[in-house]
């Protein structure tokens, strides 16, 4: 057996990915079905001389990672729906102050405390619009442990590249299921490190003055530069401003830095899409059931394919539009009441050919559930 092959839960794969990416600080409040992440972090981080803190709640957890990130460290927290709701205020602060951080939400059924031990994908829109005000956000997901690992590393890379919070939206099935993970060798996946300012001690540092390429180099808070950080609209010194030009430019900057880079941020997988008449679109654990159906029906001559989204936000409009162009029908497979369905309908030329195969009862969607919808859509009856 090779040392780097593991048989572990998805939550553990996320921890391995975060450590590989260089995580140095974790603050969290354990909650089902994400608990294993905090549990494993609590002994893996101290082993490498880094900090794990169990906080009093999720508001404090989110605030703690924001502070730690400002001091120059890679940070993460993990939660589930109810905790994710509490994090929304500070999440908006991280968006506004442009602080790199990674937030894992292993989804359970909601609203409220909902159904803790069962699967759901009901937080897709909360990830997008949970915090108030116009903003852009990055949300990644995955359907197997190798991808959980890869998307976790990708999450840290995007957070550092664009100075933004990144949400990793996993679900109970992926979090708890055990399967193989091959941990990549060091250097196999490139890592993005913090862009630090070249302004030396004693020279004025402008925390929000972009370089020529638009990026904002950071200075470790508490280090050699004194500067202000705020959730208010702010100027290049980081001080509050209500100057209309400043307000306008900052909001545009916050949205454009993500939306102008959709292609770089978009991760996806495609299966048999070249000649597909039936296109399934799915993500997270439900993509496994969708792929099961595709692999079952392809050998029987059905022209069916799957687009598995790994970047949910910013939504890959062009990719989805192009993929669905020649499809007779599109079926979105998800475990909510149609949150990605709405996005797909928004971007395709013929919204009426887009259908939903879903489950909202806490039970993992089965290949049969999907085939039943397909038969209805294809006019074959159930």
């Amino acid at each position: 057996m090779k040392e780097n092959i593991k048989f572990i839960q998805g939550n553990e794969a996320c921890v391995e990915g975060a450590l590989y990416a260089g995580l140095e600080f974790f603050a969290g409040y354990p909650i089902t079905p994400s608990t294993e992440i905090a549990e494993l972090m609590s002994y893996r981080l101290p082993q490498k001389g880094c900090r794990f803190i169990q906080m009093e709640d999720e508001i404090a957890s989110m605030s703690a990672i924001i502070g730690a990130s400002l001091t120059g460290h890679k940070v993460m927290t993990a939660t589930s729906g109810p905790g994710f709701s509490l994090m929304q205020e500070a999440l908006g602060y991280a968006v506004m102050a442009e602080i790199p951080c990674v937030i894992v939400n292993v989804q359970r059924g909601g609203p409220s405390t909902g159904i803790p031990t069962h699967v759901s994908q009901g937080d897709v829109n909360q990830a997008r619009w949970g915090t108030h005000g116009d903003h852009a956000i990055v949300t990644l997901t995955a359907s197997n442990h190798q991808d959980v690992f890869a998307m976790t590393v990708e999450g840290f890379n995007i957070a550092e590249t664009y100075r933004t919070p990144v949400i990793l939206l996993f679900d109970e099935v992926i979090g708890h299921m055990r399967e193989r993970l091959v941990v990549p060798e060091e250097g196999e996946i490139p890592l993005v490190e913090r862009l630090r300012t070249s302004v030396s001690e004693g020279v004025d540092y402008h925390p929000y003055l972009p370089r020529e390429d638009g990026r904002l180099p950071m200075s470790d808070f508490g280090g050699v530069h004194r500067y202000n950080v705020t959730g208010l609209f702010h100027d290049m010194w980081g001080f509050p401003s209500d100057n209309p030009q400043v307000v306008h430019d900052l909001l545009r900057h916050l949205v454009d830095k993500i939306n102008n880079n959709v292609n770089q941020i978009t991760n996806f997988k495609s299966y048999y899409l070249d000649d597909a008449e039936s296109v399934l679109i799915s993500y997270g654990s439900s993509a496994r059931s969708a792929l099961h159906v595709v692999e079952l029906l392809r050998p029987r001559g059905e022209r069916i394919g799957l687009l598995e989204l790994q970047t949910l936000w910013p939504f890959p409009d062009q990719l989805v539009r192009r993929t669905c162009e020649h499809a007779k029908h599109v079926i979105v497979v998800e475990m909510n009441m149609g949150q990605i369905l709405q996005e797909v309908r928004r971007v395709v030329d013929q919204p009426r050919k887009v259908f939903l195969a879903n489950r909202i009862d806490g039970v993992f969607i089965t290949p049969r559930d999907i085939r039943n919808i397909m038969r209805l859509v294809q006019g074959k009856g159930v």
């Binding site: 057996m1 092959i5 048989f7 089902t32 079905p33 803790p116 031990t117 069962h118 109970e172 099935v173 708890h176 299921m177 055990r178 399967e179 193989r180 654990s285 496994r288 059931s289 792929l291 099961h292 692999e295 993992f364 089965t366 290949p367």
Partner: protein, 181 residues
């Protein structure tokens, strides 16, 4: 068999889930097969009917749960009553004769093994009941090599308890031999 779907069921504390993880881990780490293991969380995992699903395969596994198991293991009456209808026709049903009284005929090979009694008679510690069961199931269903299970035990079990566990495993293998035909 190219793909085997196994459901382990019993009650919380019997070690059903641990046994299923050991099996799946043996397949992945020491036999280069693909395996997934998932379990049902919630109140049922604390004293009620526990269930753990394992799929072992030579090809990629997408849908990770088991709907119709090729092999169904029931270690309590409650688990048997709940799960016997889901077994795949022609499959293998394994029950423990101390805990389960068979009520219905199923379209499956049925092996009623005195696993608990054997463990208590020979070792006297109920804690290794699950390992004995794992030995019997592995042998009867021809899932992985005995050495692979042993290798996992060596990594997971404190050295002081390894000998007892390996005896329990051997008891399971022996029971399977006796009841094979």
């Amino acid at each position: 068999m190219e793909r085997c779907r196994i459901v382990f069921s019993g009650s919380g504390g019997q070690g059903v889930i641990t046994a299923s993880i050991i099996l799946a881990e043996a397949a992945v780490l020491y036999e280069s097969m693909t395996a997934v293991q998932s379990q049902y969380y919630g109140p049922e995992a604390r004293g009620g009917a526990t269930r753990s699903d394992v799929i072992i395969s030579y090809t990629q596994i997408n849908y990770p749960k088991v709907i119709q198991p090729n092999v169904l293991v029931c270690l309590t009456q409650q688990a048997y009553n709940k799960f016997y209808p889901i077994i795949r026709p022609g499959g293998l049903l394994i029950t423990d004769s101390r805990f389960v009284k068979i009520e219905k005929k199923v379209d499956a090979r049925h092996k009623e093994l005195p696993m608990y009694r054997t463990v208590m008679d020979q070792i006297g510690k109920p804690i290794v009941f699950n390992i004995c069961m794992l030995g019997a199931v592995t042998m009867l269903a021809d899932l992985v090599k005995p050495e692979s299970i042993m290798k996992v035990l060596e990594t997971r079990i404190p050295s002081g308890f390894l000998e007892m566990n390996s005896r329990a495993l051997a008891l399971g293998f022996k029971l399977a031999e006796e009841y094979k035909s």
